[in-house]
């Protein structure tokens, strides 16, 4: 990568000055977020089996448990894979504020692609319904995914600055709680 060639952003020790992310880094985070969002839109087929034990107790509770507990647990770490790639594989170092922006972008990419799949899924009910759903989710859930991924990005920034991976856990859990609460509210209404 260009940043590595120039000696900026590459910092295995954590003590050289951090560079600003380049355009490619923003695109990588947005793209990986979108890719994960595309997969997650079909997510229930992949991670719903994790909630199968709930079926023993209540069928009605099953979809709520998937939305409120399982989806945040799976999606929150997954949507920040791009940031993890930049940090762990490319060994890039940025300021914490830059990690939050990269996180926000990966979340927005995730939300956008998930919404595209959902809008195409209701195309059978008419183009109006499909566009309305895309508009509504684009304004409501895309920023939600951005908010939660911003928190995860903040955690990755703390991890990079401190060298302590446990500092990622608190923002990540906060992101999961926010995502789960949103899904719970949507399930209740």
């Amino acid at each position: 990568m260009e940043g590595m060639k120039a000696g900026h952003g590459l910092d295995p020790t954590g003590f050289s000055p951090a560079a600003r992310p380049r355009r490619a880094h923003y695109v990588i985070c947005l793209g990986i977020g979108a890719t994960v969002g595309f997969v997650a839109a079909f997510g229930e087929s992949f991670y719903a089996p994790l909630a199968f034990p709930v079926l023993i107790f209540s069928q009605a509770l099953f979809s709520i448990v998937v939305a409120v507990a399982v989806a945040p647990l799976v999606e929150e770490p997954a949507k920040s894979l791009g940031l993890l790639l930049l940090k762990e594989e490319e060994k890039l170092t940025f300021e914490i504020a830059d990690w939050t922006i990269l996180g926000a972008l990966s979340g927005i990419g995730f939300g956008f692609m998930e919404n595209v799949v959902y809008a195409l899924g209701v195309l059978g009910y008419g183009v109006n319904v499909s566009l309305s759903l895309f508009l509504m989710r684009g304004l409501l859930t895309a920023p939600l995914h951005g908010i939660t991924a911003t928190l995860t990005g903040f955690g990755i920034g703390l991890w990079q600055k401190s060298g302590n991976a446990r500092l990622l856990l608190i923002p990540l859990i906060a992101a999961m709680v926010i995502h789960g609460s949103f899904n719970l509210l949507a399930s209740i209404i």
Binding site: E95, I96, T100, M136, L140, K161
Partner: protein, 114 residues
């Protein structure tokens, strides 16, 4: 002379969060207005007045939170992560926890501190 702004590590998240929350406030309004029609179209009607009320309340909450984060961003300066070194250790003689810069243990008077 202006007083120095308080340094805060959390400032890093405030700007993206405030923008996203204002964006989401619009989404809650769209939710209140569009969700009843979408639900009706797909054959699972919802209580339109309840949805609108929730949408308006959540839009206000999201906008208020967004404003708070924007204020926090303006009122603070970006803090940096300063790793805290070890500040206490145990006296090798009595085992009490004491500050690392103490030369004589206040509990047992031992000077055998490392």
């Amino acid at each position: 002379m202006k007083p120095a702004r308080r340094s805060s590590l959390l400032r890093a998240v405030t700007l993206p969060l405030s923008i996203l929350l204002f964006w989401q406030a619009l989404g809650w309004i769209a939710f209140g207005l569009l969700e009843p029609a979408i639900s009706r179209s797909v054959g699972s009607p919802v209580d339109a007045s309840l949805v609108l009320t929730v949408g308006i309340v959540m839009a206000i909450v999201a906008a208020a939170l967004g404003s708070f984060f924007l204020y926090y961003h303006a009122a603070t300066s970006q803090g940096d992560f300063v790793p805290h070194g070890k500040t206490v250790h145990k006296c090798l003689n009595c085992g009490h926890t004491i500050p690392i810069d103490t030369s004589t243990c206040p509990y047992c008077g031992s000077r055998t501190l490392f």
